[in-house]
């Protein structure tokens, strides 16, 4: 990254941190929701963008993380204990869900992950004894951070924002390590990768598991942000929305999910002045983007260079 880009990034980060000072509660809620989807999106970007594995079941992991946090916190466990548990559980489920990827690819894999999403959604909806069914689980308490209350929306945003930065640094470290290069080799040419000693079984499973763990963490934050969970936010539509975030921002680009989540979460809100037309305009904007910028918004600089 060039020096000018680093400065721009630092300025943007400071502006984002200061944003709650000039926003009402709903605006701060949306920014916090953006953080949650950035966490999940970064995981999906690792699975889809860096390792080249198709997944349209990511909302299932978000749901598993959210329900794990909600159920265990209702039983009296601390958020700080529940958070790693949600991550580890999703990591393990992600490992299992990675197995179909060893057999099938592309749209076949997409349907396998879709099936998993449908199954988890049905589980959340029908296993009322555990999940509360369609009534969901309410009254989830926000945690305290070293004695500081996170009940206020601004305080919780800063907490989620800091956590998002920490997760981004963790992802940066993973993709800068030889693992990142192995994921890219798996994505670009698995047959050649294997002939060069890349254990494609291990890296495929890891790509799913790490991506799922990120979504599990995001799910735990989602539960304490909304303080009420029910199955709807973890439906297939949410998986498609997260995939859209990754693709719109730039699949396989580090800042892709950040930009993509901003477009998918925030743009519809900014377009609300269009009243009944806002979702129509948003849909058309996405269609146009996919036609002219299939590499996502972050592919614009590459396009300029080529032009």
């Amino acid at each position: 990254m060039k020096r000018s880009q680093r400065i721009a990034l630092a300025v943007l980060m400071v502006l984002l941190a200061a944003a709650p000072l000039g926003l009402k509660n709903y605006g701060i809620y949306l920014l916090t929701l953006w953080c949650v989807y950035v966490m999940a999106g970064m995981g999906l970007n690792l699975t889809v963008g860096y390792a080249g594995q198709m997944s349209i079941g990511h909302a299932a992991f978000l749901g598993i993380g959210a329900y794990t946090a909600a159920i265990l916190m209702k039983l009296g466990l601390s958020f700080w204990l529940v958070l790693p548990m949600a991550a580890v559980l999703c990591f393990l489920v992600g490992l299992v869900i990675g197995f179909p990827a060893l057999r099938v690819q592309h749209h076949y894999l997409a349907f396998a992950t879709l099936g998993f999403n449908v199954l988890t959604y049905l589980f959340f909806r029908n296993e009322e004894w555990l999940t509360g069914g369609t009534f969901g689980i309410s009254g989830i308490q926000r945690p305290a951070f070293f004695g500081l209350s996170l009940e206020r929306s601004a305080a919780f945003f800063w907490f989620a924002y800091g956590s998002t930065i920490l997760l981004a640094l963790l992802l940066w470290w993973v993709i800068r390590s030889p693992w990142g290069r192995a994921f890219a080799a798996l994505r670009d040419n698995p047959i050649r990768a294997e002939s060069l000693g890349v254990n494609i079984t291990a890296y495929t499973l890891l790509a799913f598991a790490i991506g799922a763990a990120f979504a599990g963490i995001a799910g735990a934050y989602f539960a304490v942000l909304v303080q009420f969970i029910e199955p709807a936010p973890f439906h297939l539509t949410a998986s498609l929305m997260m995939l859209l975030m990754v693709i719109v921002g730039g699949s396989g680009k580090f800042f892709g999910p950040m930009l993509g989540a901003a477009i998918v979460i925030l743009l519809p809100e900014w377009l609300r002045f269009l009243k009944d037309w806002y979702l129509v305009i948003f849909g058309l904007a996405v269609v146009a983007l996919m036609i002219w910028l299939p590499g996502g918004l972050l592919s614009i600089p590459d396009r300029w260079k080529k032009a």
């Binding site: 390590s177 030889p178 290069r181 050649r192 002939s195 060069l196 000693g197």
Partner: protein
């Protein structure tokens, strides 16, 4: 000479088609063996059978005394067997330098150890030396997919040697390479053979290239070995002339 790689009665059938039909040969340590033959004679199928890309119908293969028949490409690579493919096989979005590092990093540390290793896995200098040897310095940091066909072919070949394999199977290394570079490529392969000491098996249609590079040549026709020997012997073999080289 003690065989390094020994292929005994390798057979690969696709239904009624006998792509490889009882091929046997051996390769010694440090030896370069050429494999020639018309299109469809079973050369690449033989390679893929040795290298675990396809399962041979019958036959037996040994590498350094170990049975490697049907072993996966991953296990073979761990035993020091490398390859190039007939078609280009680079990691298009990675830079040329990263392609070379990716080609050897998995032989360093454990899986967990690689997560904590330096970003270049300690292979940066070795990659730079390979880039210099192949004279690709000016494109080292470009995505491999953006390079010309000839440059990608050189990257493809260089990748096969990054992990210093003991045996390398090269499938048509000259295909698509500018004729002016063919001699240079031959010299590079000779240098690598001397410096790394590995054995090579080379499939190639460029007869001048193969006759000058390989002290021993095998000619395959219709899945069988038609002739084997020194290049000049094979070149003047009547059956080879009739079936492949012509008069």
């Amino acid at each position: 000479m003690t065989p390094f790689l020994e292929v005994k009665d390798c057979v690969k059938h696709y239904g009624a088609i006998r792509a490889v039909d009882g091929v046997s040969f051996a390769v010694g340590p440090g030896e370069i063996v050429g494999v020639i033959g018309p299109n469809g004679s079973g050369k690449t199928t033989l390679f893929n059978s040795i290298l675990g890309q396809i399962k041979p119908t019958a036959g037996h293969m040994e590498f350094c005394g170990e049975d490697i028949t049907g072993m996966s490409p991953l296990k073979l690579s761990r035993r020091g067997i490398g390859r190039t493919f007939q078609t280009l096989q680079v990691f298009g979005k990675l830079s040329l330098r990263d392609n070379l590092i990716a080609a050897a990093q998995e032989f360093k540390d454990s899986l967990a150890g690689r997560l904590f290793a330096a970003p270049d896995a300690g292979l940066g200098q070795q990659a730079d030396e390979m880039i210099e040897l192949f004279r690709l310095e000016h494109v080292a940091h470009l995505p491999a997919g953006s390079l010309s066909y000839g440059q990608q072919k050189l990257v493809d070949i260089a990748m096969a040697f990054m992990a210093r394999p003991r045996l390398v199977l090269l499938d048509e290394p000259c295909a698509g390479v500018n004729p002016a570079l063919v001699d240079e490529l031959r010299e590079l392969l000779s240098k690598l053979n001397q410096s790394q000491g590995g054995s090579f098996i080379v499939i190639e249609h460029n007869m001048e290239f193969i006759m000058r590079l390989c002290p021993r040549v095998i000619c395959m026709v219709e899945g069988k070995v038609l002739a084997e020997g020194k290049p000049e012997e094979v070149q003047s073999n009547r059956a080879v002339l009739e079936a492949y080289l012509g008069n």
